[in-house]
């Protein structure tokens, strides 16, 4: 499972980095989304991978902490997803405004001369 997750994060991050270096605004926004998926998976992985373990304690006792998943990274990931979603939506608006004002989807607002 570790290997699959690691490869998944790597593919997301690699594609994301390549895309945000592209000159079209749409490529940049997709790149940022892929990067944020990679980061979100990474945060979960930092809480140690564990299958079939609840993140909350069972009713009526503390029990053995080793049998539970770490709840904090899951909470962090939720926050990161919400914030990432909001800022991406905001960027989408700016992207459309830029497209409307400059008439091109190049990130510099004008095409490069060839």
């Amino acid at each position: 499972m570790e290997l699959v997750l690691a490869i998944g994060i790597g593919v997301f991050a690699g594609s994301g980095v390549w895309l945000i270096l592209r000159p079209r605004t749409f490529q940049v926004i997709i790149g940022l989304s892929l990067l944020s998926y990679a980061v979100n998976l990474f945060i979960v992985a930092m809480g140690r991978l564990k299958t079939d373990a609840a993140p909350i304690l069972a009713a009526g006792g503390i029990g053995d902490p080793a049998r539970f998943a770490d709840p904090l990274p899951q909470a962090l990931v939720l926050t990161a997803i919400v914030i990432g979603f909001a800022t991406t939506a905001l960027f989408l608006v700016v992207l459309l405004a830029s497209r409307g004002l400059t008439g091109t989807d190049h990130v510099d607002g004008r095409e490069t001369e060839r």
């Binding site: 945060i43 140690r48 700016v94």
Partner: protein, 540 residues
Amino acid sequence: MSLPLDHLMIAPVLLPLLAGAVMLALGGERRLAVNATFSVVSTVALVAISIVLLRTAHAAPGGVAGVYRLGDWPAPFAIVLVVDRLAALMVLLSSLLATAALVFSLARWHRVGVYFHPLFQFLLMGINGAFLTGDLFNLFVFFEVLLAASYGLVLHGSGSARVTAGMHYIVVNLAASLLFLIGVSLIYGVTGTLNMADLAARIPAVPAGSRALLEAGAGILGIAFLVKAGMWPLCFWLPGAYSAAPPPVASVFAILTKVGIYVVLRLWLLFFGDAAGASAHVGGEWLLIGGMATVTFGAIGCMASQDMARLAAFSVLVSSGTILAAIGIGQPGVTAAALFYLVTSTLGLGAFFLLIELVERGREPGADVLAVTREAYGEEGELDETDEVGVAIPATMSILGLAFIGCAAIISGLPPLSGFVAKFALLTAALNPQGRAVSIFDWLFLFVLIMSGLAALIAMTRAGIRAFWAAPDRVVPRVRVIEIAPVVLLLLFCAVKTVEAGPIMRFMQATAQSLHAPQAYIRGVLGAAGERPSLRRGAT
């Protein structure tokens, strides 16, 4: 602290949030006068609150005024806000600057776009929260709050230049936020905590095998803040965004780079101070060299700038670089001087961004570019207009000119204003290190600092001559009192700082001492928490 004073600690976050929310609830844009009133009342109240906090923190033993436990949970388990000297000082600085920029915007700028006042209040909430929080992930949340508000403000007034510069600004900051998250989660994975004081207590005990991972996490986290602070080579977004932003917004943005610097100063000294064992002072030379490279880049940029807004933006870089290099030297005396410089340069740059708009008002756009091109090609146009000698300078122009000289003196570090005191203190402290010999880096720091002052002076003189002397047929700009008053007020603060340099410097020294020896901070957060070691998760 007594009970009402206790809750005053969270007021710098709650007050702007409530003010912004009430504005939105009252119908947003349709009642500009109501919004403006709320905004001014909230910001002025913030100044008063932060003065109270500053006095309490300075009087408190160890410099920690108090720790605010949200939900009254014990410290390592939940989020805390910590008010110490540095946090209170930064909150005061941001609210002073915000008051000036807000009053300036009331004349004209708050009308050119929608939702100026709510966004302005949310920006203040994010800035104050970032200064006050004692939790790493909460810092991320406040960073996002201030960034989201700043995205809106940088686009205020619209126009294709602003939208393009704003887009670059947003992408760079989104990418930096992702690095922030990677750094935070690496640090959490190694230590199992996100509370800053708890982290400082655990980092010396991190096993050798995990140390590289921890330092990598801290390094990635540092890059996220250095992007914000504008350290070379992470700063290429800054001149474009700052010079395209509307003037009152650019003026407040002068504090945004300082938020990045504040976090570097706080976390680096807390995590990797003298007590950090094997990780002590990791990355210090990077700050020093990177800071000096930033100063050099900023100084060259100042000389190359053809219009004043870009000149101001590059001066922001010079100011950031100077402080980062001074932090990297790692001496309490230098840190104290750097704090003095931080306050001075932020006030001076804030005033300069406001002043530029007033000066540029009477001139046709693009005049600067033409003038520089003419100089470069050696064409001496319009020489026959020399019979203008003896024309009385209108009062507006003389006030603007005096304010410009004030800004130039602060930014280039000349007497009589406090820029000179700050640079003098920096160099004195760097050349008199405690416990070690003066190194080649100290001399290099001296050279870079002096040369950046010279470069700023040349650039400012050139811009000043072109704006005030070289245009005999210029239109005198219409300037209202509420536009020039904030500029004069900010410069007056700098004058007061020169007169009261002794007491202020002693305060900065006390602040720097407690930053370099953060035991009081750590004890303040963790000590009263009622130790429950059985529930603490061990280092994994």
